[in-house]
Symmetry: C2
Subunit: 420 residues, 2 copies
């Protein structure tokens, strides 16, 4: 035994957390969220679920009903066990409480979605981008146009809209509403959300598009029941959204995880970011097309659009062209490698591969799973669940709508609303 000096003078210790707002969401908001999430529920169920007294539920739901956010609803899901006692009264979210829009901007398309507070899809919109001057204002105006079109479709006007969620590619800070950098604009705007809000006359919440997909899965998709999961998106590049404890995790600096630029090889393939060995440099459209030119030097029209060239490559692979096959095999293997590393570091219980329909044609979930087992450290635990979720264009817009929904309930029921 080595004895050491003792009686060192006391210093300060313990974590020093500057300003920790750390407000628990008010009960009223949590009740609303629960009702929205779990369809018609009785007050008694709400009380049990939230572990609060039934009296409290009564009072708060009365408020929510008076605020025209909830309504009573006789059609309770016929509970399997016909019990005795007073029949419960179902609570549902009122469809006519408010309306929100979700807009996804990208370099090729603009997509929009209009939903009401009960989640009914009222209208949707999709249009290829024709002209672009890469200014923030023109993009905001385009957004306004989409919103107006969808509203007009329903005989509504801007003042009927409660909020707009806006997703765009690039480095976007949801909290501050700033756009550090986006391929859509010639330069960033530290006040983008505010500017959009002013120009449209509506509350606007913005976020990175990869986060949007995670939000879409969290609100509408396979992640609803899962506390922690990771969404991997394959679009032009490779993106990632992370949900921890039922909340979108946006990283320390509000820049999401850059899965696309996770390094999977020392001195590997060149990426358009200028570095080498990025996952994206093996998986993304441009990477596949790049190698495709070598595999089928004469088979493909070099001036054809990417999607077409990829399709030709896939056909070649299906017909047994070994060079073409090896491109997709390698892409798949590196995807497994990258995702496995995410699992090794974050340990999520679910991984969702989500995104455009045509992206995953070359992806075989079984092979992916096998490869991942090779890379994921697993003493006794199982691999996390692995789901491929193909979803249409509106996926992104759904995420944007979720962003808007969050903003609305936050504004009406959140901690700040209590004060006012």
């Amino acid at each position: 035994m080595t004895k050491m000096e003792s009686g060192r003078p006391a210093g300060n210790f313990g974590p020093l957390m500057g300003e920790a707002p750390e407000d628990a969401r008010p009960l009223k908001q949590r009740i609303f969220d629960l009702v929205r999430a779990s369809g018609p529920v009785s007050r008694a169920q709400v009380a049990k679920e939230l572990r609060i007294s039934r009296g409290t539920v009564s009072v708060l739901t009365a408020d929510l009903i008076e605020a025209r956010l909830l309504c009573e609803d006789q059609t309770l899901p016929a509970s399997a066990e016909m019990t005795r006692g007073r029949p419960p009264v179902g609570l549902s979210v009122r469809a006519d409480a408010f309306v929100v829009a979700g807009i996804k901007l990208s370099s090729g398309n603009r997509t929009g979605l209009l939903i009401d507070s009960a989640g009914n899809r009222l209208a949707s919109y999709r249009m290829p981008v024709t002209t672009r001057d890469r200014s923030t204002d023109s993009e905001i105006d385009a957004t306004g146009m989409i919103v107006d079109t969808m509203l007009a479709d329903q005989g509504l006007s801007r003042c009927d809209l409660a909020a707009v969620g806006l997703g765009l590619p690039g480095f976007v800070n949801n909290e501050t509403g700033s756009v550090h950098w986006s391929p859509l604009f010639t330069q960033g705007d530290p006040q983008f959300a505010r500017r959009a809000s002013d120009r449209l006359g509506l509350p606007v919440a913005i976020d990175n598009d990869a986060n949007l997909v995670a939000l879409a899965e969290l609100w509408f998709g396979k992640g609803r029941r899962t506390a922690d999961f990771v969404v991997v998106t394959l679009e032009e590049g490779v993106g990632m959204g992370t949900v921890l404890n039922h909340r979108l995790f946006r990283g320390a600096n509000n820049l999401g995880g850059e899965l696309g630029h996770l390094k999977v090889a020392l001195d590997g393939a060149l990426c358009r970011c200028g570095q080498r060995g990025c996952l994206e440099a093996y998986l993304s459209d441009y990477a596949i097309v790049r190698e495709g030119a070598t595999a089928l030097p004469h088979g493909i029209d070099r001036s054809a659009p990417r999607a077409q060239r990829i399709e030709a490559l896939q056909q070649a692979a299906a017909q047994g062209n070994a060079a073409a096959q090896s491109i997709f095999n390698r892409a798949q293997r590196y995807l497994a490698f990258g995702v496995a590393n995410v699992v090794n570091l974050m340990d999520p219980s679910l991984v969702i591969l989500s995104g455009g329909q045509m992206r995953y044609d070359w992806l075989d979930p079984e092979v992916l799973r096998r490869d991942m087992r090779e890379f994921v450290i697993g003493t006794d635990r199982d691999l996390p669940q692995l789901k491929v979720h193909e979803w249409g264009d509106l996926l992104w817009a759904h995420g944007a709508a979720a962003l808007a929904l969050e903003a609305v309930t936050e504004a009406r029921l959140g901690p700040a609303a209590v004060t006012a």
Copy 2:
């Protein structure tokens, strides 16, 4: 514009969070934490810092003083600006409020630390492990012996001890107190913490040893002022602890990030876990020794202990042996690669390389930084801060002590304590 179907029947949506305890820490606890963290503070400062009314602070501090946790303290840090007005009264944590112990168990050593509630080190302990039967009970008894020894040194007995924090290698679940697997035991124990607590007659909190280092940095080290950071430990293996928003992040399944088994190469070096390309297979003692045998086939006694062989290898490298140098260069480069990937995914604002003193001899922070810049995707942001923090054996025990401190304040001031 493509119009899509509308009026889909409403379904449920929104995140479905089962039981979300999500209690904000009570104000009383936050005041206590702030006083502990920031030395003698006046009530007015507390109120300003926590953004609560001064009246509330008065009432709550009165409680804390009566509970003998805080005391008034005339020695306020002579504030630079001699102001007018009534002089503030400093608040400090009472040193005699309670005593906790932190114990770190590893295969080679057992380390212990006894501190009082004000952070004074009362005693410490360190002893190499001689006999081991790899049963949980014998390890618990060894812990009890260390605790008793340290207490006796201060003329105290077990009933004077408020809690024990216990760190061990392996897969340890802090929340449930279970040990899935540990190199110390022949088999895991799903009730390890409870068993230890019963056997010692003291509250026991357990955690993985890599998390301990993160806790130590969060409570006593360079992470105190940083909300989000990552700690990388080089010991026998490679470990990682993650702090998000001033809290230890333990992953979805309470298994920390397995940085040691992050894959840094496809079909890379063989790791003792059986997989290939793990970071550990390039960095850890055994990996370096393994290659060292090739670099200096005759120069080193193969039966010598690892530390000695590594030292010989370092000397050879310093004297210009190219083969030896390349081993360390590669290790360093892969370390940069792995840490860069952590940064790419998690985006922490600070990375601390922390641990035993001798581990980092071959590590040049400048080179590491340069390599990382090559691997970290950086559009406009800077590299996170990178600090090397060599710390003695007691580092781990400090983390364990922090674990115990947390347990004590949680029990006395936490949300659960309010009910009782």
